[in-house]
Symmetry: C2
Subunit: 262 residues, 2 copies
């Protein structure tokens, strides 16, 4: 089994090292990851400037390929230019910090896995819900077992699994739940500061407000000490609204022949 591994915290992060180690127990691991941290870059890809690839060593051993771009760049570059074949599965992580609820939209970790899904490769994104992860070993085991399960059971084309894990010892984890992207909102604050030259600048801060306290909501399941596994897809069509909007009759909204656009 060929496993392509990436992340958004950068190739030198401890999370990708732990993930790579756990996955070597079940297959051949190829690491292609960002040279620098790429948190919150979403599904950005690099088209305005070129990319470079360098070999990256850890503890004097070849660890993988570093790309000076985004997580989605790493998957495209990894499959098209480094592997030059489709891997059996892509695993992204282990991310420091939750990628549940609305954070899925902003996440580079999830976007790497989503790029794989777009390229018809089954994939998993793995995050631990803390910016100070105490122990990557449990998350590594979850990633390893779910990876084997995904390759075995298969997902429909375009689907990936987004996995969020509480930052707790294994003994305190209550179990694993199938979940949905929970409803939530960021209460954003732009903190205003003055630079040494008297000019204003702004730092984005704030906190996430969970708006869905059912056990099927990913962020709530994690708060209740469960591992949350959410299947997501890159088809953004809102089918409910698609059905409802038929009554708008938009094709008649602007009668082109009568030049209603004036």
């Amino acid at each position: 089994m060929k496993i392509l591994v990436s992340n958004d915290d950068g190739i030198d992060s401890p999370g990708i090292y732990a993930l790579s180690k756990a996955l070597k127990e079940i297959g051949d691991v190829i690491v292609v990851a960002p040279l620098a941290e790429q948190s919150a870059v979403g599904h950005a890809i690099t088209m305005q400037i070129p990319l470079r690839v360098t070999e990256y060593y850890k503890n004097n051993e070849f660890f993988g390929y570093a790309v000076d771009g985004t997580p989605a760049d790493c998957i495209k570059m990894g499959i098209k230019n480094i592997l030059k074949y489709q891997p059996d599965v892509v695993v992204s992580g282990i991310n420091n910090g939750s990628n549940s609820a609305i954070n899925i939209i902003y996440s580079g970790t999830v976007s790497a896995a989503r790029e794989a899904a777009i390229m018809d490769v089954p994939s998993i994104a793995v995050s631990v819900a803390s910016h100070k992860v105490d122990n990557y070993a449990f998350a590594g085991k979850v990633a390893r077992n779910l990876t084997a399960e995904v390759v075995n059971k298969k997902l429909r084309p375009g689907t990936l699994l987004n996995v969020n894990i509480p930052n707790l010892p294994e003994s305190e984890i209550k179990g694993i739940l199938l979940t949905k992207q929970g409803k939530s909102k960021w209460d954003d604050i732009y903190e205003e500061r003055i630079d040494p030259y008297g000019r204003k600048y702004y730092w984005l801060t704030g906190k996430m407000l969970p708006l869905d306290n059912t056990i099927e909501a990913d962020q709530y399941a994690v708060m209740q000490n469960y591992v949350a596994v959410t299947p997501i897809h890159f088809d953004l069509t809102d089918y409910e609204t698609f059905a409802n909007m038929k009554s708008w009759n938009i094709e008649n909204l602007f009668s082109l022949k009568e030049n209603m656009f004036k």
Copy 2:
């Protein structure tokens, strides 16, 4: 009616100027747009570095606020820090180049509108399917009329309209259709070059392969000379797979009590 306008081509692009002009016919327009081009940045937000805001003038008149960040940054900053109230609607565009099918995922134009939807503001993304737009006036009229319609008819929370317009004179447009995100794929190529110092670098190129030739697919409708209007949502949950995965019984996959994670 208060209308917040943004884009991803940058505040100095002709598309946002045309959009702003068209929307002034139906409301008060406030422009908050990226200082520099931000194509293909997806839903990136800026958290690792601070942001600055500058007033931008066009033809010696105040045009709007330029933010040195991404389209999603502009919407957050525009609502939280510049307006300090919820606008009635957000309109993003007019983008040079199609944002249909899989391009929706990579688009900064769409992500600006999606950020508005996340913040509970109805929104529309508007793109013309050409990198050399001949005439923004027709797209401006479509944007203006659909904006009025969205504010009037309302969308469900979290939904935005993604609008793609053929690059044709109004007389050649066949009509307006309600569409879905069409299936498609990029055939990516990384073009290898050598820099003046002998080092390799790679440019991402390639072409989009449409995989859905039904008139309900956004990219196909545009190819057939229709304006395509696709409702999209930020809930990425794959409900079909969520239902199917119940048979996986993942809660039993790893019996935690028996320490199967070893």
